[in-house]
């Protein structure tokens, strides 16, 4: 059996392959250590960087989204605490960026907002208005102001998410096509917001573990 894990700040994505059958799962990262899991390759913020088995997250993203990168999509991974993108040109690496110094406009903030205001992610709808989240902390202030003015929490959070989508589009240097990796793929409000700016293909949450598998097969 082969096991690949992407241990993010909040969630750990796992791919197990047994007798050619792939089995994907997600667990809270806080539970990972209790499992004493053995793995062939790994990536993510929450694991030690053992050179023999650890793969750089952007490299894992590049390998997991290779097909789309070679079709001139930007691959963008928006996680709990960071955002990173990679771009190919003529099937070769062209550009990348990775911002992990501020997590106030990423997934963990959205999860906290939903819990704080007791809003279900399914109730969020695309809102054509957006907050500026160049600084996520200022964006949070706008949510509080709007709610204080009587706007519902779900509308305010939708505007914040639209701001994150616009921010992600700018961070990736305004591409025409983006494929998205990470938890935001399961956030229809985010995907719909991003579609206002470019073509979007959500790839799901397991792109990096697929990249680890590809990397393992190469070696």
């Amino acid at each position: 059996m082969k096991t690949y894990i992407d241990a993010g700040t909040t969630w750990t994505k796992i791919l197990k392959i047994e007798n050619g059958e792939k089995n994907y799962s997600i667990i809270p990262t806080k539970d990972l250590r209790m499992l004493n899991l053995k793995y062939n390759k790994c990536t993510g913020h929450s694991l030690p960087k053992d050179k023999k088995i650890y793969e750089n997250e952007v490299v894992a993203l590049a390998k997991g989204a290779k097909k789309y990168l070679e079709d001139n999509f930007i691959a963008l991974d928006l996680g709990s605490r960071d955002i990173k993108y990679i771009q190919y040109q003529n099937k070769k690496f062209k550009d990348m960026d990775w911002n992990a110094t501020c997590a106030s406009a990423t997934g963990a903030t959205i999860e906290m907002l939903l819990k704080f205001y007791n809003v279900d992610i399914k109730d969020l709808e695309f809102n054509p208005q957006k907050y500026s989240v160049t600084c996520g902390i200022f964006g949070l202030e706008k949510i509080m102001d709007d709610i204080a003015q009587g706007i519902s929490a779900k509308v305010a959070i939708s505007k914040f998410i639209h701001g994150i989508a616009f921010n992600a589009f700018n961070f990736a240097k305004n591409p025409s096509k983006i494929c998205i990796s990470g938890g935001f793929c399961e956030n229809p409000c985010f995907i719909e917001s991003l579609k206002q700016y470019c073509e979007v293909i959500p790839l799901g949450r397991f792109v990096l573990v697929d990249g680890l598998m590809a990397s393992d097969l190469e070696n």
Partner: protein, 254 residues
């Protein structure tokens, strides 16, 4: 260098301090005048107390200059202070401030253009030494002036453009076959203010364009990174894990 500093006699002034790359003539003049003096590069972080002399959001190298200068003030004979295009505007302001604070500051400008680019010698930048060692040797050689022409040249696979980082350990991420470009290359060439040398890169080499955060060279680094499809990176004091990971990913994917 730290060992050298620990040998400094506390009672007497016996340090010639400098930053950037003062002209050889000026260096030689002070070597002759003070043959027993220790030479201290104020650009380097020696972990002296942070005096908060400049604003928090300011170039770390300039902060180092201030912290080092004030910590060693009683021992400094003179500060050789490049203030031209070979250094930066911040260095000019700091040189004036240090003068105002009672330092013996010798301002200098080293903006000479290389008359024949085909004749410059870059044995260290092109050598097979580890990148960190290359940078350390070039900066030390500003006052040591040793001959390194015996070093063997290595076919480069990567490029590093920029200035010596505040934390040189970031250079350990690069393989030995990384060629130096930018200001540090211009220093080895002996023309720290030469635009042609500073902005030259081998466009076939994947190159990391590095500057200190809050340095005006960030504009040039970003421009060149876009022009040559390199990786732009600015770091303030110590590189974050994401900064290191970005460089690792770039080196792996290019």
């Amino acid at each position: 260098m730290l060992q050298e500093l620990s040998q400094i006699d506390n009672k007497n002034k016996n340090i010639i301090a400098f930053w950037g790359y003062p002209q050889k003539a000026l260096i030689n003049e002070y070597k002759l005048k003070y043959p027993r003096a220790k030479w201290v590069d104020l650009d380097i972080d020696y972990n002296y107390p942070d005096l908060k002399f400049v604003p928090d959001a300011y170039c770390t190298i300039i902060k180092n200059i201030c912290n080092n200068a004030f910590y060693l003030k009683d021992k400094i004979i003179a500060v050789l202070a490049p203030i031209g295009k070979d250094k930066c505007d911040s260095a000019y302001f700091i040189s004036e401030i240090l003068k105002d604070e009672g330092f013996n500051v010798i301002q200098c400008v080293f903006e000479d253009k290389c008359p024949d680019l085909s004749k410059i010698k870059l044995p260290i930048s092109k050598s097979n030494l580890p990148l960190k060692e290359k940078v350390e040797i070039i900066t030390r050689n500003i006052y040591e002036q040793k001959d390194y022409s015996y070093l063997s040249e290595l076919k480069p696979s990567f490029g590093f453009w920029g200035v010596p980082p505040n934390d040189l350990n970031i250079l350990n991420l690069f393989p030995n076959n990384t060629e130096l470009f930018g200001w540090i290359r211009a220093v080895e060439a002996g023309y720290p203010g030469d635009w042609e040398i500073e902005t030259y890169v081998d466009e076939n080499l994947p190159t990391v364009f590095f500057t200190q955060a809050f340095c005006s060279k960030t504009a040039l680094a970003k421009y060149l990174a876009n022009k040559y499809q390199g990786l732009y990176i600015d770091i303030d004091t110590i590189p974050s894990n994401s900064a290191k990971a970005k460089i690792e990913a770039f080196l792996k994917l290019r």
